[in-house]
Amino acid sequence: MAQPEQQVGNVPPRVPKGTRPYWVEPTVTAVVFGLFVLYSLWETLFHHNGVYGNYISPFFSPQLGRWLGMKDFIAIPVVWAPFLFRATCYYYRKEYNRAWFWHPAGCAVSEPRARKYTGETRFPFSWANLHRYFWYLAVIVLMFLWKDTIQAFIFPGGFAVNVGSLLFLLNAVLLTFYTFSCHAFRHIVGGRQNCYSCTLGPNAGKPTASYRVWNLVSRWNLRHGAWAWASLFSVWAVDVYVRLLILHVIHDVRLF
């Protein structure tokens, strides 16, 4: 028994009072993500240096390409890992499935049906299941970014705080929250278990370390989307800042 086509007659407005039209969010997302991807391509394909003094742009860290003796495209050997970490992130999947593929563009909104929908059963979407591996790689990169952040406070004249240093710090903090609020990490640290207190011996019934970590990650995980957006902009901002310094468009301001 088929549902009668509901589009005949007066189609009700799909906008409940007090909320934005459903298409606002996916449109903003589509534009911002699109711009970021274009910017990333421009940055990594057309630039061969991401270093200014003690600053290393997050797109170019760690300097694996340089260590391998590469001259061109030196960002490429590393930058794919955090990129795929984001591409397989459960939050980003929601956003780009809505914004780019309109599967669905908004809740209870009709979809284009030209292509057969297969969900995450086939390549490339099925590779989202490898999210945990990209997480491992992203953690390695994150460690280098913290090293870069410390380095961003150590100038030729010793310890100092510049606007750039603070940008690096902010970026590292946001990326840390983003990385450690990850759904796959939440699974690894505790989600895969069914019982957190089922230990034997004198500790039976006491929360395990695994439970404590899982609980903390679960709390961070509630804001995973916010961390995702914030760290996206912070990476962008730091990179733009370093690029502009390299191009001598701006000067780094010393705060104290």
Partner: protein, 258 residues
């Protein structure tokens, strides 16, 4: 209160077709859409078909779509829509029976196929609150099937052959994450229940009247459990040296009993 009139535009029809019909209903303080529909039944259309039971958002019978959003009729206040015509339509993802009543029997058929909870020992169990907090969230479900209605796999892609839908994922999670459970449902999840069909767009969470975070707390953890087995060679290596924690269940639903 002064006599304020709201306009309710209700879908009337059956599987052969139909259209919306407008009714004028006087607004009372705190009135919900279901109250307005009862007024319509008493005053204008005794045969207006609407399914409802408790009128307290406990039973999950009165699911429909109000101005395009899947909602419970008994929990949607008319004063949220002041100055608007209120369009009430049946759930889109299920076959229409009449007016606002749809045939939701598919949900009960797939529910039957889920491998049931199987404890290692009979109760009384020693389980701690922190261990059951996670599954008690899923026990809040009232089976209104609004999540099934809004899930685009079922709604837009006729995915009923390929995916059990968010409600059933929460049900599977409820059993699979039970501290005493002994069944391994990963193969079932992947091959029968169709969890890879979900692309985590979270509309089920947006419409859930019980505020269950189905995607993040049920579907994603279950997807990760499937990934443990099918997408993680390192875990697979570890598993070779460990006794399986849970007994796998067959992926083909048994025809004898279901």
């Amino acid at each position: 209160m002064s006599e304020e009139i709201i306009i309710l535009s209700v879908f009337r029809g059956d599987a052969d077709g139909g259209q919306e019909q407008e009714y004028r209903v006087p607004l009372e303080t705190g009135m919900v859409v279901l109250d307005a529909l009862h007024y319509v039944q008493t005053e204008y259309a005794p045969d207006l078909a609407v399914r409802w039971n408790c009128k307290a958002a406990h039973c999950g019978s009165c699911s429909a779509e109000i101005n395009g959003m899947p909602k419970l009729l008994c929990k949607t206040r008319l004063d949220d829509y002041v100055g608007q015509v209120i369009h009430v339509r049946p759930m889109h993802a299920f076959p229409l029976i009449k007016d606002l009543v749809t045939d939701v029997s598919w949900n009960y058929r797939v529910a039957k196929q889920i491998p049931a909870f199987q404890p290692s020992t009979p109760a009384p169990f020693v389980m701690y609150q922190r261990d059951v907090d996670r599954i008690q969230e899923f026990h809040q479900c009232i089976e209104c099937f609004l999540c099934q209605d809004t899930c685009h796999v079922l709604r837009e892609h006729e995915g009923q052959e390929r995916y059990f839908g968010p409600r059933m994922m929460a049900k599977i999670a409820e059993w699979d994450m039970h501290p005493m459970d002994t069944k391994d449902r990963t193969a079932f999840l992947k091959d029968v229940a169709g969890i890879p069909m979900c692309n985590v767009t979270r509309c089920c969470v947006e419409v859930c009247p019980e505020h269950i975070v189905i995607t993040d707390n049920a579907i994603i953890p279950l997807k990760e459990r499937v990934a443990d087995v099918y997408w993680d060679p390192i875990q697979a290596l570890f598993r070779r040296f460990r006794r399986p924690a849970k007994t796998p269940v067959p992926t083909e639903p048994s025809s004898a009993e279901g």
